[in-house]
């Protein structure tokens, strides 16, 4: 299975077939789930309509951590098996994860103002998610500052794994410290504590976000494979060199083997 997709062309073919389906199912799910979540689902008896922020906030926060976990798993695969697609997948996941972390932070601020009375509090959950935001930035910065992609991939892997320390901290921050943020109510021992009328649209939204993530990762990795091929081709292509006397000659460049 791992070996099968180690061929970039094979992965690209799979991604090309899969991407439209992922995108379409995301769109269909959102068209159904958004009205249910934002209009038809019941308002909370305490929070009123503010509770509808949950359908934006919780899936975003979920995706933020899942995307990072995905990056870490891909980095392990790249590290151990030198899997050529794993780095591309990890890199493709990072911008989505960054955006989701940003969305979770901003929607959380809008939710915090009416319920806690403050846009932002420096408690463990919020702070650890803010750290995640900066780790995403650092991870992306490595890809952008090191010009050689193979070298950038190496340091990106190490950084991704180092930053993974933060993920359990985020997950358990509401249990380890006194926090304004509520404890886990979805993924917990003993089942979810949310009523079915709210749970169903929430799970639909989470599924929608996840499908979007899957599409974005496939498309991003595909783009990188195409880019790498273009780089190889331009390195191999014959170059026209203008000599001092004004005449041009064509020369076969000594590019890397493709």
């Amino acid at each position: 299975m791992l070996d099968f997709f180690a061929n970039p062309a094979r992965f690209e073919a799979l991604s090309r077939t899969l991407s439209p389906w992922l995108l379409a199912s995301w769109a269909i799910l959102f068209v159904i789930a958004l009205p249910i979540a934002l209009v038809f689902s019941p308002a909370d008896y305490q929070q009123g309509d503010t509770v509808r922020l949950m359908y934006i906030h919780v899936p975003a926060a979920w995706m933020a951590t899942i995307a990072y976990t995905f990056i870490a798993v891909m980095s392990v695969m790249a590290f151990i098996w030198r899997h050529p697609i794993a780095d591309a997948l990890a890199r493709a996941a990072a911008p989505v994860g960054l955006a989701m972390t940003g969305l979770a932070l901003v929607s959380g601020a809008f939710w915090g103002k009416p319920t806690w009375g403050a846009w932002w509090v420096w408690d463990a959950r919020l702070t650890s998610v803010l750290v995640l935001f900066f780790i995403y930035l650092a991870y992306l910065a490595i890809w952008d500052t090191i010009s050689d992609p193979a070298r950038a991939a190496k340091f990106a892997r190490v950084t991704a794994l180092l930053g993974f320390v933060n993920i359990p901290i985020i997950k358990f921050s509401v249990d380890w410290w006194n926090s304004l943020h509520q404890p886990a109510s979805l993924v917990r021992a003993g089942g979810p504590t949310i009523d079915g009328s709210m749970l169903t649209p929430l799970l639909m939204m989470i599924a929608g976000y996840t499908l979007f993530f899957a599409w974005a990762v496939c498309a991003g990795a595909e783009a990188q494979i195409i880019e790498a091929r273009a780089r190889r081709r331009s390195a191999r292509a014959p170059r026209r060199i203008l000599k001092v006397d004004g005449t041009a000659r064509t020369e076969q460049a000594e590019g890397e083997d493709g």
Binding site: T127, A138, I142, T145, R151, K154, F155, T159, L161, I169
Partner: protein, 236 residues
């Protein structure tokens, strides 16, 4: 007892580590006070925060544990910037890695020298810091003892970030970002542990103090391999 020349083919990881610490010590002393950098930064930081917070004793005493950790975390990150970068630049790391099958001894020596050259001077002035910030002297010594327990974790976090940035040839700003996940738990539990001692007057124990020591041990196991990998990548 130890071979003072790392080019000796018989160098063991331990003697390499000792050589590195001795060399870094000599460089720090001869370079006109390299060992003083972190401590000096810490002193300036304390002075600035004292000015910023105003002279109110209770206010300063309440902030003292947090400021102690904050100042030392920043100072260690600053000291870490130079930890591997010079060896990377002048080629000595390449020589060392060519003659040793593992960089374990080198990393052990480097982390030790960061602890001795940057963290230990701050640890020595920690009781004075706490006293001038309005903590009773008897409690200040207990607080400083708790502080020392968390310093290895801070050094390891700053050190591994330094190895990554040195390997990449990136600047120190990225290093501060990379050490954040390792630093934040130390800050949270470290401040709690010192507050327990100096404000509640309890003995030097409790869960926060134990978690601080647990962080030392966890980082000691997890982080050095990352530093070694990052330096090896940097040499490729």
């Amino acid at each position: 007892m130890f071979v003072l020349d790392s080019r000796d083919p018989n160098t063991t990881p331990l003697s390499l580590a000792v050589n590195i610490v001795l060399r870094d010590g000599r460089v720090a002393i001869r370079s006109g006070g390299g060992w003083f950098n972190a401590l000096f930064f810490f002193a300036i930081f304390s002075m600035f925060t004292a000015f910023a917070l105003g002279p109110g004793r209770e206010q300063l005493a309440a902030a003292a544990p947090a400021l102690l950790w904050l100042g030392s975390a920043l100072a260690l990150n600053l000291a870490g910037v130079e930890l591997f970068a010079n060896d990377m630049k002048d080629g000595s790391l390449r020589v060392i890695s060519a003659e040793n099958s593992s960089l374990g001894g080198y990393i052990a020596g480097k982390f030790t020298s960061l602890f001795l050259m940057a963290a230990a001077p701050i640890a020595l002035v920690a009781p004075i810091f706490l006293v001038v910030f309005g903590i009773e002297p008897a409690l200040a010594f207990k607080g400083a003892a708790v502080f020392i327990a968390g310093l290895p974790a801070l050094c390891l976090g700053a050190g591994v970030a330094a190895a990554l940035t040195a390997g990449m040839g990136a600047n120190g700003l990225l290093g501060a970002c990379l050490s954040a996940p390792a630093t934040i738990p130390v800050l949270i539990f470290g401040v709690g542990a010192i507050q327990n001692v100096v404000q509640l007057g309890s003995a030097v124990d409790g869960s926060e103090f134990l978690i601080l020591i647990a962080l030392d041990l966890i980082y000691l196991v997890i982080l050095p391999p990352f530093a070694i990998i990052a330096l090896r990548y940097g040499l490729e």
